[in-house]
Symmetry: C2
Subunit: 437 residues, 2 copies
């Protein structure tokens, strides 16, 4: 059968990996796809690099627009990233009737609605397995593998940088700043690590997962985004003592009146499989009404793991591109005319359990005051830990784990606790998820 011609935009880490794997495994991939899939044109500003990676075997250009308009190209792979030129190129490719494969979570989380509508109108596919959790085929699992289910929630470790940092903080008892520098030295964190450590990257990914799980549009602007840069080593230690690990989770959950969409450091029981995902690895836990819990684990980044997802999409698109558009798997798992307008809930209405750390004066009656405030707010206590103050120390820590309540209940109670004269600093509040049903 006729080969499929692929135009590659960007030959950096993932682009290079895609070229390498597609070349190395050409025979194996052709045996699966039924026809050769070949990168025939590469666009990159760094032509020298492009030449080095491809060995000059394919057409090279520094003009990406010449790829997306090339009539010989069947599928465009966009690996430039960001919202700017990448968006223009993707839309131009669609306009020219090209199918698009992209790893660009930022673009899809923010401009997905516009992009998928354009693709739908033109009858082309936009595939994005590589946008979430690197090499783990999580998009396919949720969109197709679990199609029988009403998905109830998804909780994922979907940013390797922060998981590496949290693993190191716990292992070595070191503060965030020290570990971040180490992660940068080892190449696990970028020079400007903001997107990773502040949870933005994870929020892009959970926004996409939320859309395909519940059949709602991508709505990054409604996500609650909280990173790990303010996390203190003490809280990791206290959590450990109480049988929990702290992970940066992306969480999306179906509730009666809407959908939760949030990223924040989260205490999870240490005995859960996902709590034992260490270093830069990713894992996604999906709860469906029929299947129960399923977990997907693997490398969430890196040249070849991400290339694995890009190429899986290329094979899928190659198989499906002659099929009737209405019989293809819908971009966001649900048919475009069957999307729901279920609202994303504001943070105040999120329901979760809490870890609270209070710095208090070590004197009688403090605990009575605090527990009274929680009781008045209708918040029940699941566990309580009071640190024995050291010799001559006038202050100590009280750690409280609550049962599930609404965020606004917690807000109100915390405000009242902080107003107590015996409470000496702002309450440390982390969220806690049992992940058991």
């Amino acid at each position: 059968m006729k080969p499929i011609n692929v135009g590659l935009l960007g030959i950096g880490t993932v682009g290079g990996g895609t070229y390498t794997v597609l070349t190395r495994n050409e025979a194996e991939i052709t045996r699966r796809a039924g026809r050769p899939i070949r990168i025939t044109k590469v666009a990159d500003k760094n032509l020298a690099l492009a030449k080095e990676v491809t060995g000059g075997q394919v057409a090279l250009t520094d003009d990406a627009f010449s790829v997306v308009t090339d009539p010989e190209i069947d599928i465009v792979v966009e690996l430039i990233g960001g919202y700017g030129i990448a968006k223009e190129l993707v839309l131009k490719a669609i306009e020219n009737g090209k199918h698009v494969v992209t790893a660009n979570k930022a673009l899809l989380a923010v401009h997905g609605t516009e992009i998928f509508a354009a693709a739908q109108k033109k009858g082309v596919m936009v595939a994005f397995e590589a946008a979430v959790a690197g090499g783990i085929p999580i998009i396919k699992a949720v969109r197709e593998g679990l199609a029988a289910n009403r998905i109830q929630w998804i909780a994922g470790i979907i940013n390797g940088t922060t998981n590496f940092i949290l693993s190191e903080m716990r292992d070595k008892g070191l503060p965030f700043d020290t570990v971040l520098k180490e992660a940068q030295r080892l190449g696990y964190a970028e020079a400007d690590p903001t997107f990773d450590i502040e949870g933005v990257d994870a929020a892009h990914k959970i926004t996409i997962l939320s859309a395909i799980a519940f059949g709602i549009p991508v709505q990054f602007d409604k996500a609650h985004v909280e990173g790990i840069s303010k996390l203190e080593a003490e809280d990791i230690k206290y959590a450990e003592q109480l049988g929990y690990r702290i992970k940066l989770l992306g969480i999306t959950k179906r509730r009666a009146n809407g959908i939760e969409l949030r990223v924040h450091p989260t205490l999870i029981p240490a005995r859960r499989l996902i709590a034992n995902v260490e270093g830069a690895m990713n894992a996604v836990l999906v709860q469906g009404d029929a299947v129960g819990s399923t977990l997907y684990y693997g490398k969430g980044a890196g040249a070849e793991p991400t290339a694995s997802a890009v190429i899986a999409d290329l094979v899928d698109v190659t198989r499906m591109h002659t099929a009737d558009p209405e019989n293809r798997v819908p971009h966001l798992a649900f048919q475009p005319d069957a999307m729901a307008d279920t609202p994303i809930l504001p943070l105040a209405e999120v329901e979760t359990a809490y870890y609270l750390r209070l710095r208090v004066e070590d004197k009688a009656g403090v605990l009575a005051d605090v527990t009274r405030i929680l009781a008045d707010a209708g918040i029940s206590i699941d566990a309580l830990l009071q640190r024995e103050p050291g010799e001559g120390e006038a202050q100590t820590d009280i750690i409280i784990l609550t049962h599930v309540c609404q965020e606004k209940q917690a807000d109100a109670a915390i405000a009242r606790i902080e107003a107590l004269p015996v409470v000496k600093r702002k309450v440390i509040r982390l969220r806690l998820e049992e992940l058991d049903k």
Copy 2:
């Protein structure tokens, strides 16, 4: 769009679950599939049960052949099991141009070649996600999600009964027979548990995974099959002391000169995620050259988890049934004309590490004799544990972990060790896999 009519053969546990989930989630599934998928005819010998489950909402019959020949039926779901009548019905359905969805691993592992050839010839699909690891979408992951990779190996906990038994033996230090009875009482093991405990069920499943991983025909008759019924509680304890857990693994591995295909109790490092899969849960670890290790975890059996997989296949087939057969995902992941004839290696040529337990007389020189035999056979020792004999005890245990060698090397060395007069019973030999690369 026109609804898809499904004929269901067998309304036992999984059939009942399929009916229930398809009915309960009809709206959600239709939003995904783009058209309703409805069970319109059910065949079961137990008509009373069929009526109870379906509430009399669909046509019922005790003649399954009337379903597979019914011109109104688009897809036949075969949930009868076994090689007998199920095979006839599946072939008859194919002959009548029906697509088939089945959970029947035994049928596919043994007669898959004949069935897939018939389906190929007739241009219909045979989908079997539910045949391996219940609700975990592992077939889809390997066949499509990892299509970029040269798969190197797959190792899976793919039988819940045996994993439950092994978890209980370890937790409670109980012998196999006691735990088996408990498992039968709890419904985790059948009255005749042979297929599960002797590894046959796991071998059916790993045979199917091997075919889709390497593009070879299903060859159940070439698999090495060894169950857990002879496993002794002591070995679980010794393994634990050495930092390992014992799991019944289905393993298939690509080697330079062939493919390994085997099921046996296996020591794996306790720190691996898969070593911590407990109770009746399933997990499959897949190693690809690009993606590295990925793990898939969930419920491997039960009415609704298995129904989840059956219905995912129904949605897939619904989407693909108007597509050109040559552009569909091939049954065994590779195009039928691109299957490989790579041989399955005989057990003697398998390469693995070993756990050996020797019951020996407690006297000088024993260790020297044993280690000399291993050295002569070219087998190096990774770890050694000698139990301190109890007061007045004349015999003791020596446990040896070897590095990787060939099974036939191990056979030869074990025969020589057993011939030593100081060795008092047959050597206990278990295989050990690091699962790290």
